[in-house]
């Protein structure tokens, strides 16, 4: 039996939803019939709108998909203005203030506290500069990710940006693929550093050479969600750049036809890959979904991959100042946990215009890059006040931090994430010293097993849990170690479970100290973990209370907003009308 969600999608899905969305927005929140809430909220996702968690009814998270993280000149200013004018909720976040932009791990932008009534105006502003929320969520082709410095990097073999842009234009709003069994995530890499993160996407194009031509090898079936992390598998196919779109058509049509619509938990293509294996996947693609002979895989460049490889060389991220092939520079700025206030975003837009071409890129490590800065202007840019908070040369604990949305807005979450990770990073910076040869040390915090912060590919992986401390339930984290990408990607080993959240910084300090004592000459953290079994590693973690103070130990999910002065669920102003005033409920 198809699921309820499939039933709603059969009735109405894809581009058409927009018309209803606009009607509801004109009439206001209360126009959505109460017994149709679930169906409409499911459909609105396709237009990038996710209804926020309980206590925040009538407010939406809005995701803007920026393919390959490319924000073209003129766009960032509009994003900042929309955040400033429409993304302010009934209470402010104490770390970040009112109205923020979140740069996400899939090179998208998230705004919160969006009111239904404001959506037509917001869409108009975004679309006027070529931005869109279409297919940012829902069962569709999601935002395409890739190497954030595509076209601007000296290590590049194919400029993957035109390919990403072609796929984006082909598959956004394309009715043939608008109703897939589940989300469809695609990554394109053009450089030999491997920063497209193809291994954790449903469909990955990676640079490879055949007949003296650099095109792409194809991998299928990666993903991190639930406790079912998978690496994408090699299906032994090479395509030249100008045929990438044909293979993408074929693979997403295959998913549309064969993906499991009876069970949403089994729907992602990684599960079909489990069932079929790469040989059958290739065969079905060849027989039913492409009309040319597929080539076998070319010679890949994975042995050169440095991105998140744990090797402490090359690109572990894109923070810092790097020369472009044209002699100008790109300047990667660290945004702690990917969150930037609206005013700072506007300031960043100004700097990008003043010093560079106005183009900005988002990375898959929740950071931003200013492009095209002439060498002679670098010093002035570096002394801009904004770069004190968003540094091109931050502490490894600041640059390595990633956190998902968590209990602030997300229904699935178990723990508070972003503000906690900010406090962790600051404490670690003051209290822990990494060995001098470790510039990169990634700590990723996800509030639940959906893994939006990609914890499985971090040096230290943190995942939301609960435990009891003196009998009382408190927020806790599972701790994993040694994950990362590179030639041989590796998911973290979960070594210490249900550590009370206030003992995690102490645990990381003790671990780093043991690592410094016990490592062999030049041994990297990743190698250190790989060489030891889970029991040995668990002994090195040693959770411990320190002077780190955690204000979020209580059940933050039980509040309407964890940082409100009166955070009691009953005190929530939601749902509200178009002016943000509480709507009287009739019961």
């Amino acid at each position: 039996m198809p699921t309820k969600v499939e039933g709603w999608k059969d009735e109405l899905y894809g581009n058409e939803i927009r018309e209803n969305l606009m009607e509801f927005a004109e009439e206001g929140w209360e126009a959505i019939p109460e017994d149709e809430h679930d169906a409409w909220f499911e459909r609105f996702k396709w237009w990038g709108l996710y209804h926020q968690r309980s206590g925040q009814e009538s407010y939406f998270m809005m995701r803007i998909g920026t393919p390959n993280g490319v924000i073209k000149p003129g766009q960032l200013e509009v994003i900042g203005e929309v955040a400033r004018d429409y993304a302010q909720g009934p209470a402010d976040n104490p770390e970040f203030g009112p109205a923020v932009c979140d740069w996400t791990t899939r090179q998208s932008i998230q705004l919160h506290w969006i009111k239904l009534e404001d959506i037509p105006e917001i869409f108009e502003k975004l679309e006027a500069v070529g931005l869109s929320t279409q297919q940012a969520c829902g069962d569709s082709w999601r935002n395409i990710v890739g190497c954030p410095v595509a076209g601007k990097d000296k290590h590049e073999h194919v400029d993957a940006w035109p390919v990403a842009e072609e796929l984006h234009e082909t598959f956004k709003g394309n009715d043939d693929y608008s109703n897939l069994p589940r989300k469809w995530k695609v990554a394109i890499t053009g450089c030999d550093e491997g920063c497209g993160q193809g291994d954790i996407n449903d469909l990955a194009f990676e640079p490879a050479e055949k007949h003296g031509e650099v095109g792409f090898n194809v991998r299928v079936g990666g993903g991190l969600s639930r406790k079912e992390a998978r690496l994408a598998r090699d299906i032994d196919v090479w395509v030249p750049a100008d045929q990438a779109a044909d293979v993408a058509h074929g693979m997403s049509a295959l998913f549309r036809e064969y993906g499991d619509r009876e069970d949403r938990f089994n729907a992602r293509i990684k599960f079909l890959m489990d069932e079929w294996g790469p040989e059958k996947m290739r065969q079905v693609l060849q027989d039913e979904f492409v009309d040319f002979e597929l080539e076998t895989a070319g010679e890949d460049m994975r042995d050169k991959y440095t991105y998140n490889s744990g090797g402490q060389t090359g690109h572990n991220d894109h923070v810092g100042i790097h020369e472009q092939p044209d002699g100008k520079y790109y300047v990667g700025l660290n945004v702690l946990v990917g969150r930037m206030g609206a005013e700072d975003t506007l300031e960043l837009a100004e700097l990008a215009d003043e010093y560079g071409s106005g183009e900005v890129r988002l990375t898959q490590r929740q950071n931003v890059i200013i492009l095209d800065v002439p060498e002679e202007d670098l010093e002035d840019l570096k002394s801009e006040p904004l770069l004190e908070d968003y540094s091109p040369n931050p502490s490894p604990f600041m640059r390595g931090s990633i956190a998902c949305t968590g209990t602030e807005y997300c229904s699935l979450s178990i723990v508070e994430t972003k503000n906690r990770q900010v406090r962790y990073a600051r404490w670690l910076k003051e209290n822990v010293e990494l060995p001098a040869d470790h510039e990169d040390f990634h700590i990723h915090l996800s509030g639940c097993t959906a893994s939006c912060a990609q914890p499985q590919i971090a040096d230290v992986s943190l995942r939301g849990m609960k435990t009891r401390k003196d009998g009382e339930p408190v927020e806790a984290l599972d701790i994993g170690l040694g994950g990362g990408l590179g030639e041989d990607p590796r998911f973290a080993d979960w070594v210490e479970m249900r550590v009370p959240a206030d003992e995690v910084p102490g645990a990381i300090r003790n671990l780093v100290n043991s690592f410094k004592q016990l490592r062999g000459g030049g041994e990297t953290f990743r190698d250190f973990v790989e060489a030891r079994d889970e029991e040995t590693l668990a002994d090195l973690v040693e959770p411990e209370e320190t002077d780190y103070d955690d204000p979020y130990m209580h059940n933050t999910k039980m509040t309407w907003y964890p940082y409100a002065e009166d955070d009691d669920m009953q005190s929530s102003p939601a749902p509200t009308n178009g002016q943000g005033e509480p709507i009287e409920s009739d019961d």
Binding site: D38, R53, D263, R264, F265, S411, L412, R498, N555, K557
Partner: protein, 112 residues
């Protein structure tokens, strides 16, 4: 009116008559379970796998973990609340901190 139950957002919610009623991330005390070796499982709900109605009970099978022993898996059918009067559709949630007895059946189940 028949009682309409489904799980939403990847199992984050149980929705009863289009109103989000039961959320993940709470702790439930489960007795007499073969879920884990504990006498009383201290169960963290992480996702609703299956939901159903066995009038007047709203039931669910829940994925999660016993935070006392660390065992994870999916529970038997657990009563998460009641709709006593299907005409009004009013939902009464159970107190999850009290002790619950997961059992065999929900009459009318809605898979995912």
């Amino acid at each position: 009116m028949t009682t309409d139950v489904h799980q939403l957002d990847d199992g984050a919610w149980i929705s009863v008559n289009d109103s989000r009623q039961v959320n993940v991330s709470d702790l439930w005390l489960l007795a007499e379970t073969d879920f884990c070796g504990c006498e009383m499982a201290d169960f963290l709900a992480e996702g609703f796998v299956e939901v159903g109605v066995d009038h007047p009970n709203i039931e669910a099978r829940v994925a999660g973990q016993c935070i006392a022993c660390g065992e994870s898996g999916v529970t038997n059918w657990l009563t998460v609340g009641r709709v006593v009067d299907p005409d009004s559709g009013e939902f009464y949630g159970v107190v999850h901190e009290s002790v619950h007895f997961p059992g065999k059946h929900a009459g009318d189940s809605e898979l995912k």
